[in-house]
Symmetry: C2
Subunit: 275 residues, 2 copies
Amino acid sequence: MFLALGKRVAVSAARARAVSAVRVTKMALTQISSAKCFEGYQKVYEHDSLELKCKMRFGIYLPPKAERVKCPVLYWLSGLTCTEQNFITKAGSQQAAAEHGIIIVAPDTSPRGCNIQGEDDSWDFGTGAGFYVNATEDPWKTNYKMYTYITEESLITSGQSVSALAPICNPVQCPWGQKAFTGYLGSDKSKWEAYDATCLVKTYSGPLLDILIDQGKDDQFLAAGQLLPDSFITACTDKKIPVVFRLQEGYDHGYYFIETFITDHIKHHAKYLNA
Amino acid sequence: MFLALGKRVAVSAARARAVSAVRVTKMALTQISSAKCFEGYQKVYEHDSLELKCKMRFGIYLPPKAERVKCPVLYWLSGLTCTEQNFITKAGSQQAAAEHGIIIVAPDTSPRGCNIQGEDDSWDFGTGAGFYVNATEDPWKTNYKMYTYITEESLITSGQSVSALAPICNPVQCPWGQKAFTGYLGSDKSKWEAYDATCLVKTYSGPLLDILIDQGKDDQFLAAGQLLPDSFITACTDKKIPVVFRLQEGYDHGYYFIETFITDHIKHHAKYLNA
C-alpha cells in the first residue's frame, strides 16, 4: 500500500467502482455543508468512525459529471496541522476536478475530541498529526488508527497512481517522523518502516507506479531536513521505479505552492483514472 | 466614484500608471509575508494609515509580468467579516491574474485595533464591516474613513471597469445598510446616498461603464432582502447603463461561488486594463 508516501499533502488515487449513493448512505453520513462549485458540489460530511471511535469529518467534491455517471475518486491526504477544511478552501482544486470528472475526498488528519492526555500539547504530534499510522502504544492505540481508517473504512479499493506535494519522504530519518513514530509505534524502529515511503519502495513489488512529486526549493522544511526527497528518489532509482520530481524554484511549503501545481496533479491522476 | 457598488466582494479596477517600487516604498510598507504563486508573488503588507489612524494590512498579488513591466491594478473590496486574507487564500484568483498580467490589491474591510467602544459587538457593524464609508458620527468618525482610505490613500487613480459578486446593491433599503449607515452617518438619509450604488447610478454622468454582476440564486442574503440587485438593474436600465447580471442557479453566498466565477471577472477587467 503506497498511501504512506507523502505524509504532508499527499495525493493518492483509486478507482472507486462502488461509489454510489447507496454505498455512501451505508456509512451513516451527516451532511455538514454543501455548496455549489464549478457546477458540482463541495460538501462536508460527518460520520461516526468505527476505527477511530470518534466523530470524523471529510470533504468531498462531486464534479457535475457525477450526477450522471460513476466517477473515479482521488484521495487527498493533508499534512500536519490540517483538518478537512484546508485543502477544500485553499487549494483551488475544484475547477480541474470538475473538468476531468474526478471526485476528490479530503479526510481529516487525526482523530478528534478523544480527550487523550497530551493530544493537544504540540502541533506535530497528536491532534492534527496522525501520520496515517496505526498506533500501537498507549495512550494512542485506542483511537489513532488512521492507516486503517484511510485504507479500509474509507472507500479506497485499489491504488493506481500517486503524487505528492512537499511530502515527508523518509520519516524514519527526520525529526518529525522520529517523534511521531516513537510516540505512536514505540522504540522498535523496524516497525516504523511500514509507514515510510522510502523504506516501502525498497521492497515494493506491486503494479507499476507513476509518481509525480513537486517540491518547493525554498521550503523551510526541506532545508531543515524534514522532507528528504533525495532518499526517496535514490530508492526509486535503485528499484527502477519512475519518479518525476520537480524542484520548484522559489516556492515555499504553503498553500500558494499547492494552488499553483494542483491542476498538474489532478491531470496526472486523470490519465489513469479516466483511462 | 463607483467603488461604492458592491459592498460585499466588489471588484473595481483602475489603471495604475504610477505603481512602481518607488511609489510603494513611499508608503512605508512592512512586508508581512511573501509566497511564490503561479510564478508571481502573493504578498501581504502592513502600513500605518494616515486616514484610519491605525496599522492596516492588504494583500497584493504581483503577476510574473510585473517583474519586467508596469502592470494594471485590480482592487478587490471584500465584504462583511472579511480581512485581507479571505480573498487571497480562498478565491483562487492568482492563476487568472498571472495569465492576464494583472496586479490584484485586496485591502482590509475596516480599521483594526482602534479600541472604539462597541467595535466588536456585532459582525455586521464595526470591525470587519466598514462599508467603505467616511463616518461622520461619534465614536466612529476618527478612524472609520474607509472611503478616503480606498480612493485616495491607496493607489487608485481612475475607475475604468467594475464588477461584483453578490453585492449589496442598495444598502439604503436593506437592514445591513440601514444599521451601518445610521451608525456611521447618522439619521439623515440623504447623506447615505453617496455610498449606495443604486442611488449613485441614478445621477451618474461619468465615463461609460461595463458592469458585470454574478449573483447566486440560492444566496440566503438574496432571499433575506439584503442584496436587492433588482433595484440596481432597474436604475441602470433607466439610465441606459449596460449591466450583465447573471443569476447563477444553485450557488450560495460563499467563497466556492466566488472561486467558480472569479476568472470570468478578471477576464472582464483585463479587456479594459490591457486595452
